[in-house]
Symmetry: C2
Subunit: 217 residues, 2 copies
């Protein structure tokens, strides 16, 4: 069961699930590794290999049962329980995260926001916003495991320290500071400036004549 899985692998699992849900909505009952490979732009071997690693079995001729796959993927990805998160830093991006519509459908719930600015603090809001000094107590009381950091750059490392002390196990970091993960905490850095920079590089490279296309994720 305990599979050593890379980031890319888990992303593929998410993608499989996403495609399967769409197929289910279309009335599909079974699906073949060929179909899924085409949908994700990968080989059917890869699909079968991924599935076999996670004991997602099919039928020697009839392919895979859509419903069955979705169910098993839900368990693997933890989608059968509400995934509670907090947002630290309630500026523009932080607020957008707190009110992001896409979360509810994926059973992700923002339990609270945190900030240092007294004017944005509002413990009685639909999603309460507390002072940063309440962060650690909240995490421990509510047993929060995942946090989004959307503070200004200057606050990022301090907030990470606070989060690690309180036992947070996963961080999604939207600040341009590259935070390092550890044994006890996984970190995903989303650096928006860098994404743009990266795109400009490839655009300029195209212009130079060598339209070498990178994988789009």
């Amino acid at each position: 069961m305990s599979v050593t899985s890379s980031r890319e692998m888990v992303q593929r699992l998410s993608n499989y699930r996403s495609v399967l849900c769409k197929l289910k909505a279309l009335g599909f009952v079974k699906v073949f590794s060929d179909n899924l490979g085409d949908a994700l732009g990968i080989s059917s071997s890869q699909v079968r290999k991924d599935f076999s690693l996670f004991d997602l079995t099919g039928n020697k001729k009839g392919g895979y049962q859509v419903d069955d796959l979705i169910g098993k993927l839900n368990v693997i990805l933890g989608k059968n329980t509400i995934q509670k998160i907090i947002v630290v830093g309630c500026g523009k991006i932080g607020t957008a995260m707190m009110n992001y519509n896409g979360f509810s459908r994926e059973s992700i719930k923002v339990a609270a926001g945190f900030d240092t600015d007294p004017t944005v603090i509002n413990p009685r809001g639909l999603i309460p916003i507390y002072d940063l000094s309440d962060l650690q107590a909240f995490i421990k009381k509510e047993q929060v495991k995942i946090a989004i950091i959307t503070t200004p750059e200057s606050g990022a490392t301090r907030v990470q320290d606070l989060l690690l002390e309180s036992g947070i196990q996963g961080i999604l970091n939207f600040t341009p500071v590259k935070l390092k993960g550890s044994e006890s905490c996984v970190v995903h850095n989303v650096n928006i400036e860098q994404e743009i920079e990266n795109l400009f590089y490839f655009v300029n490279e195209m212009k130079d004549g060598s339209p070498k296309n990178p994988n789009s994720e």
Copy 2:
């Protein structure tokens, strides 16, 4: 000159530049591949290999000149000119992107926003917001190359079609729809729900006893 460079490679180039700028601020004049490797959590061989591919040369003993490296990386990454972008979809996340402070420092400028909702359209704003019907004319007139998509899920593919028709060459997509790149247009998908899902997977995996840590980007 025409190097076939992967996404990861360009990200490393960005990271080198970022660290080098910080070192420069600290007064560093020269730097060794060892230092940079440590800072990015990679081997020094990797650093030297990356540099050699882009003709970033050092001195057989004295390491690399910080100023020189930054200058050359700026050219490679196109940071010596203003990088003009547009934002399509001016909801919460889109608005946050338009007003994102981090862009100016990286010489990225949001030229305009676009939306279908008449109540948010404001062609006289500091950053003008136009109706979606003006999108294609604007791109052609202003020769915009890069766009950020922050529409609701339902609008994503339609907007992509519009963008491709007008000759956009790079897209940063924040909708949960996985957009596909092409020969003429590079796409980077940032799927927030999926990032959270991914983190929960690793957190749950840790709990199961195998704290296999993935690379944090």
